[in-house]
Amino acid sequence: MSVSRDEWTAETVEEAVARALAELGLPRERVDVEVLEEPSAAGLFGFARRPARVRVRARPGFGEAARDFLRAVVDFIGLPAAVREPEATERGYLVRVEGDGAAELIGRHGHTLDALQQLAEVYATRRSGERAALLVDANGYRERRAAHLERLARRAARQVARDGKERRLEAMTPYERRIVHLALQGYPGVYTESEGEDPFRRVVIRPVKGEAAEADDVG
C-alpha cells in the first residue's frame, strides 16, 4: 500500500469515511472529504454492487492555513515580500512577512496589518477546524510597536503616580491594550483599566488612592 494513501472504499460513503478517519487518527472536522463514487444500488440483474469511494485528506493546521492565505494575498497584491513558516506562540501562531513590500502591509498604526491578520485568522480557523490566536507581523513592526507602547505606558504611569491625576491613552486594539496592562502590572502607585467599546476602547491609568483596591482588569 502506498504511503500517501488517500482513497478508501466501503459499502457506504459514511463507512468509507469512518474507515479513513480511524486509519488517519483524525476527527471529522480535521479532514476534507471528496466523494469520488457513490455506491451503486444493489444489482438488479445480479451485477456486483460497486462500493463507495472517497478521498480523505488531512486539513492543513491553523498555522499552515494562515501562511497559505498570506502568501496568496502577497501574490495578488504583487508585493516583493516573503511569508515565513508559522511559529508557535503561547496563544496560537505568529507568521512573519518580510521584505521591501512588507512595509506596505503595515499601514497607519498597523491598521492594514490588523486587517490582514483578522481575515487570515478567519480563514485559518475555518480551513483548519482549529481555534487559535493569530499574530501577523511585517518587518518586525509588532515588536517595535510593543516597545513604543511600553515606553508610552511607563511615561504616563510616572505622571499619574506623581500628580495623582488619571491618564487616558489613545484607543487601541485588544492586543495593544494587553501590552499596556502587562507593562504596568505592579507599577507602584497606579492601576490600569480599559474603558469604552471597541474600536474606541482605551486604557486608563489611575492612581491608587489610600487603601483603594487595586484593579487588575486585563482586557
Binding site: V73, F76, L119
Partner: protein, 82 residues
C-alpha cells in the same frame, strides 16, 4: 479583471460558506475603481462582519492593492434583493 478585483474575490471566497457564488464587478469611475462584491444572500453577514469589521478589512487590503497601481479603490457590497 484587475488585480484588485481578483484580490477582493479571493478574500471573500476565503471566508464565506458559498465560495462559488462570489462574484466581482468592476467599474471605472474617473480616477476611482469601483469594485462591487457579490455574494450569496446567506453570506452577506460574513463578508460584512460584526460592526462592518470584515468589509473594512477587505477595503483596507483592496486599497493597498490599488495603491500599487496608483488607483483609488472603492469596494461596495450591493444587496442583491434590491
Amino acid at each position: 479583471m484587475s488585480r484588485v478585483g481578483d484580490l477582493v474575490a479571493f478574500l471573500a471566497r476565503s471566508i464565506v460558506d458559498y465560495p462559488d457564488a462570489v462574484g466581482v464587478r468592476e467599474t471605472e469611475e474617473g480616477e476611482t475603481l469601483l469594485v462591487e462584491l457579490l455574494v450569496a444572500q446567506a453570506d452577506l453577514g460574513k463578508v460584512i462582519g460584526r460592526q462592518g469589521r470584515t468589509i473594512q478589512a477587505i477595503r483596507q487590503l483592496a486599497r493597498v492593492a490599488g495603491h500599487r497601481q496608483k488607483r483609488r479603490v472603492r469596494v461596495e457590497v450591493p444587496d442583491r434583493r434590491a
